[in-house]
Amino acid sequence: MLAQIVFTLVFIVAVALFTVQVRKIIRNIRLGKNICRNDRKAERWTTMARVAMGQSKMMVRPVAGLMHLFVYLGFVIINLEVLEIVLDGIFGTHRLFAFMGGFYSFLIGSFEILALLVLLGVLVFLARRLVVRLKRFSGVEMKAWPKSDAIYILLIEVLLMTAFLTMNAADYQLQSRLYGHYIQAGAFPVSQFLSPLLPSSTEALVFIERFCWWFHIIGILAFLNYLPISKHFHILLAFPNTWYSNLNPKGHFSNMQSVSNEVKAMLDPSFTPPPADPDAKFGAKDVVDLNWVQLMNAYTCTECGRCTSVCPANITGKLLSPRKIMMDTRDRLEELGKAKDKNGASYHDGKALLDDYISREEIWACTTCNACVEACPVNIDPLSIILDLRRYAVMEESNVPNSLSAMFANVENNAAPWKYAPADRLNWAQGDWSKE
């Protein structure tokens, strides 16, 4: 009975703390500007099904894709087992779902195989980070917390899966002894091979089974509360993030209606633009100038670095790293959110995403080639943030590299990015080129 009360309290506190953290993240995401992404719903559901649930973009890199598939399936499917564990904890039962008989054995058996595959995946991932040291997991933005975060997640998963299998191994032994409430239930295709390693005394087996049960479930509840401060939060946000994907062709950059109104008013004096929002800026200087989908993108990023590894600027040694753009956006948003928690919702700390986090050198190195957008397994769009920062630099500050101001002047005065006379536009057709 005491165990049930303790468990129920721990469970309630863990879920409550998690809810508080998630609400803060939602509040932060809502600091962004509004953008309508509720159209084309059928296409959005299929995108989410294909990209998030179906892991389609992960498989572009087969080794990482397959290992990730194991861990992902393990996470989704073993959570069915967590449901049983939680109910057992609350009601003081043991293997509550055992009444399902053969189907229960099938479930437990599959969870065990999945747990083994998860262990395999996680060990491969650890090796890629610690032994092989893949280049994509390094970089200026991958020092300190982001570096340890990745390792912590993998170690936690090793511990959870080991506890799960050890618990089953002890249970398997106890079941074969027909001890107490350890009824014959489940199939143990993996843990039966672990059970000979366990001590033979029944008391020790019960202790191991209980210890692993508590360790596993408290570990999961602790991990739940680790998610919101970790890159691992992608396991939740990947789904809405892909649902709210940009469905337009990647070459299509957003139109700025505020600019359309001003340009129309310039070209047609009879056009009366709707009143402009006095606080609105052109482009983005800080996270609050971005739209909420861009901010959700930032919280969804799991720092895998596929974007950066295909970025032509990054490959050739420039400062720009699309992953850093996303991490900076998230870190700045977290900082602003904390400042608002402390000093009230209207507080502004005077810092900004541009310059305090992302430098000019980074935003001007982008070739807008969309390789980062294409590479992201969860449809994050770093390019749209780079473009919004450029828009601010150009239209609010007129702070652009000199050669680009010259290009702008040429387009404006000569209708071409180079200084040629518009009258010469058809010169290419002159002369005799029939034999060319």
Binding site: E262, K318, R390, A416, R425, L426
Partner: protein, 264 residues
């Protein structure tokens, strides 16, 4: 054929009360850049050869605003766009072909919301269609046995999902098509996009087009086929950088097709 090839302008056609089947949007690079002018002329020869009734805007054409938009100057972009849309709508243009993926992307995707609705195709799409219809032959000839690699332009490939049309135009050449290591949706940029063409690159280890040359050298390509005037500049500079001007030629799909059809 006349010694001087007549290129009809919309103003001329309109004065005669005629409409073209398609407007050829030449673009700034195709109009002014000496190397790109040759692409423009090759494509014009193809249009003449197959008897498509086309016209150009000539001096009425202006920059689509692409480099301004990618660089963040939405004002300048929309000024350009609205001016061009006024001209295009004035001539009641329905269909546009262009040899520049940047013009293609901008007119196709970014003009509609500003009032410009046209069917826009890239010249490699038209060429692929004409080959499929049998109006253009694509026999080996000069290309027989040569290794050709296609460098995907970002705004044609990733930007708009057009990967097959340019390859269709090359497939029947009797040549040896070798994909670059980074191709199609994984294609590496030439380094010119996003207005980089008009500025010095930021400090780094090397230029993007030099990085791209590693793929070209690995594929042992004799010919790098491109579908974008900016890629043309960058690939040519890259070839010069690795001092392979004698071994590697950079040609636009229009030039390759024109040559295969005896037009060049």
């Amino acid at each position: 054929m006349d010694t001087l090839i007549n290129i009809p302008t919309m103003a001329e056609l309109s004065a005669k009360g005629e409409q073209p089947d398609i407007l050829f949007w030449v673009g700034c690079a195709g109009s002014y850049d000496e190397r790109a002018q040759r692409i423009t002329r090759a494509f014009a020869k193809i249009l003449k050869h197959v008897g498509i009734k086309f016209a150009v805007l000539g001096t009425e054409e202006a920059c689509t605003g692409d480099p301004a938009k990618r660089a963040g100057n939405e004002f300048l972009f929309q000024m350009q766009a609205m001016g061009n849309i006024e001209v295009l709508n004035g001539y009641a243009i329905k269909k546009i072909v262009t040899a520049c993926p940047h013009c293609f992307n901008t007119i196709k995707n970014e003009y509609p919301v500003l009032g410009g609705h046209y069917e826009v195709i890239h010249h490699t799409q038209l060429i692929a269609d004409l080959i499929a219809e049998g109006k253009l032959v694509a026999e080996g000839g000069a290309f027989k046995g040569k290794k050709i690699s296609f460098h995907d332009p970002c705004y044609l490939g990733r930007g708009n999902g057009v990967y097959e049309a340019p390859r269709k135009a090359l497939e029947q050449l009797d040549a040896d098509l070798v994909e670059l290591k980074r191709c199609k949706s994984n294609g590496l940029c030439c380094g010119a996009g996003g207005a980089q063409m008009f500025k010095e690159p930021e400090p780094g280890k090397k230029d993007v087009n030099v990085e791209r040359m590693e793929d070209v050298l690995e594929a042992k390509a004799d010919i790098v086929a491109v579908g974008c005037p900016f890629c043309m500049t960058m690939m040519n500079d890259g070839v010069k950088h690795v001092e392979k001007e004698q071994e590697i030629t950079v040609l636009d799909i229009a030039e390759i097709t024109a040559r295969a059809n005896g037009l060049l």
